[in-house]
């Protein structure tokens, strides 16, 4: 077993363990902190897969923006001192569905014959990625910018406090 495989296994165990903690923790704040750990492990997978730009984006956007946003929402809504049940009454149905899906996915993944390519990644992958975003994928790139603008305006409109005289 090589060093890379050992690193992968450590990352995998940490990612799965923290993900289980995210969905089982009674305190939603601990869930948010474990989610940050899990997102860091996913960034580690991207580094192992030779996608350094994606790893940087993962840390910047998921850990830096989305996780902080979730923690803000937790602090603004929940009374953290009150412990409530974590799961609803249908948790066992959800467990059966998730376990069945996991069984099917694992069966397919283990039995399928993947046509793995031996080619190496292009040396200047980040430059090639930027060029493809500006040439082949320029339309989805522009649509994504419009989507982000809509999300920005929509979030402000929805979450804004309404003034008494405007009602």
């Amino acid at each position: 077993m090589t060093l890379v495989q050992i690193v992968f296994l450590v990352l995998a165990v940490a990612a799965i363990g923290s993900a289980v903690g995210v969905v089982t923790s009674k305190n939603i704040f601990y869930s948010a902190l474990l989610l940050i750990a899990c997102l860091f492990m996913v960034a580690g997978f991207y580094v192992l897969l030779e996608a350094p730009f994606l790893a940087a984006v993962q840390v910047l956007i998921y850990v830096g923006a989305i996780a902080v946003l979730i923690i803000f929402a937790v602090m603004l809504t929940e009374n953290l001192m009150v412990r409530r049940r974590a799961w609803n009454e249908q948790w066992w149905v959800a467990l059966v569905v998730a376990a069945a899906l996991a069984a099917v996915l694992l069966y397919v993944v283990v039995t399928a014959q993947w046509q793995v390519s031996a080619a190496a990644t292009p040396g200047d992958a980040i430059a090639a990625l930027g060029q493809s975003l500006m040439s082949t994928y320029v339309l989805p790139f522009e649509v994504a910018s419009v989507l982000l603008l809509m999300a920005l305006i929509g979030a402000i409109i929805i979450a804004r406090e309404e003034k008494e005289e405007q009602r």
């Binding site: 990612a15 899990c38 993962q58 609803n88 975003l133 982000l148 979030a155």
Partner: protein, 102 residues
């Protein structure tokens, strides 16, 4: 070299854990966290297939970038909705958000 199936197994497990969280959580923010876990599992799959099957074409990385973009927009809107509902109804429990049921 790490076999491709290892990445796929980890991604499948992460996806199913996220699915369980999205279905079973009572707190709406917990549901959102489950969805984020599922999107991350999908991204691992996209990058793993890009690296192992078509490393010379960058489609996998571009797809993962757009998934991250949409996830950011979804998180912003979702959390804004949760805060707005909490302000009007004093709850973040999914079971209590039933004003459109009859």
């Amino acid at each position: 070299m790490i076999p491709l199936s290892w990445y796929l197994i980890v991604a499948a497990l992460l996806f199913c854990i996220g699915l369980y969280g999205a279905l079973a959580r009572r707190n709406a923010i917990g549901v959102l966290m489950g969805i984020e876990l599922m999107l991350n599992a999908v991204n691992i799959n996209l990058i793993a297939f890009w690296r192992y099957i078509t490393p010379e074409v960058l489609t996998g990385q571009v797809f993962a970038l757009f998934v991250i973009t949409v996830a950011a927009a979804e998180a912003a809107i979702g959390l804004a909705l949760i805060i707005s509902i909490f302000r009007h109804r004093e709850t973040v429990t999914v079971e209590d958000m039933d004003m459109m049921k009859w």
